[in-house]
Symmetry: C2
Amino acid sequence: MTANRFWRLEAHPHGNDFSAAFALKNETIPSIEDGEVLIKVDYLSMDAGTRMWITPRTDGYQPPLPLQSKMVGLCLGRITLSRAEGFAPGDFVRCFGQWADYAVVTPATSGLTKLDEDIADLREHFGTLGMNAWTAYAGLVDVAKIQPGETVLVSAAAGATGSLACQIARNLGCRVIGIAGGPEKCRYLVEELGCDRAIDYKADDVEAELAKIEGGINAYFDNVGGPILDAVLPNMAHYGRIAICGLVATYDQEGPSIGPARFDQILMRRLTITGFFIPDFLDRCTSYLPKLRQWMEEGKLVVRFDETKGLEHTLDAYARMLSGRNIGKVIVDIR
Amino acid sequence: MTANRFWRLEAHPHGNDFSAAFALKNETIPSIEDGEVLIKVDYLSMDAGTRMWITPRTDGYQPPLPLQSKMVGLCLGRITLSRAEGFAPGDFVRCFGQWADYAVVTPATSGLTKLDEDIADLREHFGTLGMNAWTAYAGLVDVAKIQPGETVLVSAAAGATGSLACQIARNLGCRVIGIAGGPEKCRYLVEELGCDRAIDYKADDVEAELAKIEGGINAYFDNVGGPILDAVLPNMAHYGRIAICGLVATYDQEGPSIGPARFDQILMRRLTITGFFIPDFLDRCTSYLPKLRQWMEEGKLVVRFDETKGLEHTLDAYARMLSGRNIGKVIVDIR
């Protein structure tokens, strides 16, 4: 292949229909400048957080991606050309690159990292050893400060980050309750991830189910915000901690989100709510890797991959992830 | 005086009109049981937090006070009878007692504390050495973790807790901005409390004023919640901390509060919001006293008292405090 296909942001999307928002374009393989590397991309990671930077909102956690830009996202691949110190052709790497056959990145601004190839499935660098796993670990341990014996609640629990958060909390000795939509996901939470209980937000009265939790919820790992957070707040234990990992419920709103109606419970129950954004802590995250790898090798941390083949089908994978039709980690194999 | 006058909760109040909610009653001076003390009350403290326990809400930070109970509040006074170990007639004490000439309390459940009488003004035990000061100190130092050089914002800044928070933040080397209602309070903040700036929420466009703060707000000591919190959230610095001390804006609402419309900023700006309730930490608070006392003696921590004379005028003082017509600490002298 001598050409490079890439997805270009054409317009700000509405909801989860991306057909008008992106166009698949062709160009010759890009040349690189001093300080850059060229990567032949093998896999793309579909991440809900990217939904924020394709809105025009200037108050998000990243500045908006300008229209007509190549779409930015996490990639796994192999360096083919390097003009950056410390990186050489042949290195297998992960970085924030582009949705493209070939990505051009600068190490400092892309989180470019050389990866261990001595594992059974290289995709695990998007799985148990990847950013979703760091997010789950950091959110539970550093932000929500979970302790053995506590009750931990996880929303979007069958998603990539949620499914890892359930298992990590379980591995750390917590009682884990997962919230997901539909019986298949709920079965997955209990039978495969070892959750003590699953709540089906599409079928159950979430607030009523949460009210049955004896002793209340000590820690809530929240991926969604919105009505589920409202149901959780009055059912937190005193001094409970909420780690806000994502507010998926609000990303495709045109305006800002509406805050939780039960915000007063922060005071009444003496809660701590913290928003965190894992790309801020990429350097710290490497310290989580030995533990995550040990759990992976012991079979205690497992990621189910929801894989789409072909760069040309990326938008299907992206929409599936954002509308919650996936179980586990959504990736695109573009080899 | 051989009789005891006391305020009884007759009905749940609406707004800040307490005339139908309380009745001043008479009884003979109560006798005490084993484990109790009788206190001749000198001063009552008017505290916004008490507004919560005279609602029927069961989701507040304290269970509701049953109707027909004597009203509970912080008292300063002298023990006249004791059947509790460690307390003797003549001891000058502070506790959660009753709005009454004589209070009957159990040490363990009332926070009963013997006080130092070797200070110029005993009222300082409701002032620079009292619970408002501990609240301000704990909220700034333990909860919001302020650091020298940071920008600290305080709402209800001319109130008892707020005025102490402004001075403590200033004493700890922060740049301090106070929000209060009206030019007299704003002048007080800048000229007497040493705030770097005051914002008059009745006259200024609060959000526009906050947007001018270079570098954003590192820590917000919030006494009010409501629309001011909405104006603050998008103007917080990244990794900012918000200590929720009170949600006065919502206490007299019939239903629960509506959450901040800009809740999404918790994630976007990686904020931490913590609700805290100082009576939970009474044991820890004594460790703040030496520092507070030193500042008091150096003239660096000053409380202005808004004093009403006569138990029979308590409701006027209470309504004045809750409607923000006071500057400083509202107390009732019932000697």
